[in-house]
Amino acid sequence: MLGFVARRLLYLVPVLLAVSLLTFLIASLLPGDLAYTILGDQATPEKVAALRHDMGLDQPIWWRYLSWLGNVLQGDFGRSFRTGQTVLQAVTERLPVSLELMLLAQLGALTIGIPLAIACAVRSGSAFDRFMTGSAFSMLSVPAFLSAILLIYLFAVELRWLPATGYIPFHEDPVGNLRCFLLPALTLALGEWPVLMRVLRSDMIQTLQEDYIAMARAKGLKPSRILLVHALKPSSLTLVTVTGINIGRLIGGTVIVESIFALPGIGRLLLSAIFTRDLIILQGVVLIVALGYVMINFIVDLLYAVLDPRIRHGHA
């Protein structure tokens, strides 16, 4: 298992290099000169040239990439020229919000998706199964902004159970913090459980036809054990993949949901960086989000090995 982890970690190196290069290129190939953006259009050419020299913008692009990469490797992702905040500060401030939202949304989606998938797979083809698969399909086509508005209307306006918008830090008021996150997390979960449910359902239906399930029944095991131990584990590889992709996507925050519910997450940080042309923040945040994505996929690979011993031992 240790060898497996080491091998996988080694594969990460070229991926991470490619990610950093792409991130750098995206930011530097954007039209517009950073020096002009900072100094404004009233700046004299001398001032611009001086700033370009200070920032190293007059150097060739490969040199700029290497020196930026060197700084990044030392933990220096740069500093916003607008707020003076470093990228790391900005991200550590916003990341917990996006992470909490992501975590709650995934928990919600899995809590809805897994039991329904199992229930449908056991009765595949029944009226219940057809109804649930149909509803999942229609849920899939509801956009997040619509379900967000409906949830706000129901839980914040009509029932007045939860706040419509706003953010309270966890250390100030844990319960209030959770209440803030419930509606946005539910909004995201509503968009995701149908995918999880459909993926797990179809894998589970296949697994239930395997000989080893007939064997488990012939052994006289309890139906709950057959479903949860013998069938769920080998059926969950695709589920883990999809969940991993969702998590990776949500590390970067969700612009729409964070905006609707006024949550100060990564999504809103990126959005404002784009509007203010704050390229340093943009570049740093994109890199950190991409790193997170790569790490999540690395963890998903490890999870495969945990779930299926054949992968761990290099078979199959």
Partner: protein
């Protein structure tokens, strides 16, 4: 048959609805096995022998329709409620499936799969169950059983996996073991070992056993009684020595002839049974084997021969032209 039957299959039929119409997989089968006895069920692929074994275990596909009675130890398994059936399976009624590559769960250790059966049916704590698992693995001839408990099925060879499956089946001292083609998926060199293991454990534990196979060679010398199935029906049934001595059914003869002979000259064509079994969704009016039977005459195509008693005790066959009889064909 000595003593009352442990298992008796009474007038069992299995029908499967398919897109092409109703498929009659098992057609009014009567069979029985006494405690400590061995029954062989023989027939080629698609003759309904596996469906019959699934019918006994009540593990048929959801769509299948089962009629008749399966009396086991005084209870009708067909009408038994789910919970009582579950307590019986794995405990008194165990099975070894055909393919050990697919019948063990690939993501659970051998230990988990053994211990869960023990703990489901016997009141054993973790340590006792583990000790017993080690004993069982050793009993079925697995070297270094303690290490095996931690391993996964893919780390074992096919023969070893089938031994594990047998250990699981034997774990709760069942009264009846159904071995469904237990050696078909294995190397020829392993087959005899597995069959001998099954025979030894059967004698030692005095359990009843049903061996399902397509190979008459497997049942010869290893069973007390043989039932030959064709197109869902039992077409010949006899005590094993009697079957080989006084074979009556041309299909049984053809099955026996189809076993490759080790002393045959090189390049001798295999005496395969020509043609294929009839389409089970389109039952024939007459004897199902008549299109392939070299002794068939007009009556065989019009009427279905009943399973009737032969002259020797316990021998039954369904044929109008039984081999080596006055009315029948020369063998």
């Amino acid at each position: 048959m000595t003593g009352p039957a442990l298992l008796s299959v009474e007038d069992v039929s299995v029908n499967l609805p398919t897109p092409r119409g109703n498929l009659r997989a098992v057609d009014r089968v009567d069979l029985s096995v006494g405690a400590g006895r061995t029954l062989g069920i023989v027939g080629e692929s698609g003759c309904g022998k596996t469906m019959l074994s699934r019918a006994i275990l009540q593990l048929l596909p959801k769509k299948a329709m089962l009629s008749g009675r399966v009396m086991f130890d005084g209870q009708d398994l067909v009408r038994l409620d789910r919970e009582r059936l579950r307590k019986l399976r794995g405990r008194s009624l165990a099975v070894v499936f055909q393919d050990p590559m697919t019948s063990l769960n690939p993501v659970l250790t051998i230990g988990t799969q053994l211990i869960e059966t023990l703990q489901e049916h016997l009141e054993l704590d973790g340590v006792a169950a583990k000790m017993r698992s080690i004993e069982l693995l050793a009993a079925v001839g697995i070297p270094a059983p303690e290490q095996r408990l931690m391993q996964y099925p893919h780390q074992l060879s096919g023969g070893m996996r089938q031994r594990v499956a047998i250990a699981i089946a034997l774990s709760c001292e069942p009264k009846l073991l159904i071995a469904d083609e237990p050696t078909t998926a294995l190397d020829v060199t392993i087959q005899a070992q597995i069959l001998d293991l099954l025979a030894r454990e059967q004698r030692r534990r005095h359990m009843a056993m049903i061996i399902i196979t397509h190979d008459l060679g497997v049942v010869a010398g290893r069973t007390d009684e043989v039932a030959v199935m064709y197109a869902g029906r039992v077409v010949e049934r006899a005590p094993t020595p009697d079957l080989f001595k006084r074979m009556r059914m041309p299909y049984t003869e053809a099955l026996l002839a189809a076993i490759p002979k080790i002393d045959a000259k090189p390049h001798t064509p295999l005496p395969a049974i020509s043609g294929r079994p009839p389409d089970p969704t389109r039952p024939l009016k007459g004897c199902s084997f008549s299109p392939r039977c070299r002794y068939a005459w007009a009556q065989c195509q019009i009427e279905k021969p009943p399973l009737a008693d032969a002259d020797s005790p316990g021998h039954q066959y369904a044929c109008f032209r039984p081999l080596n009889t006055a009315v029948g064909a020369p063998a």
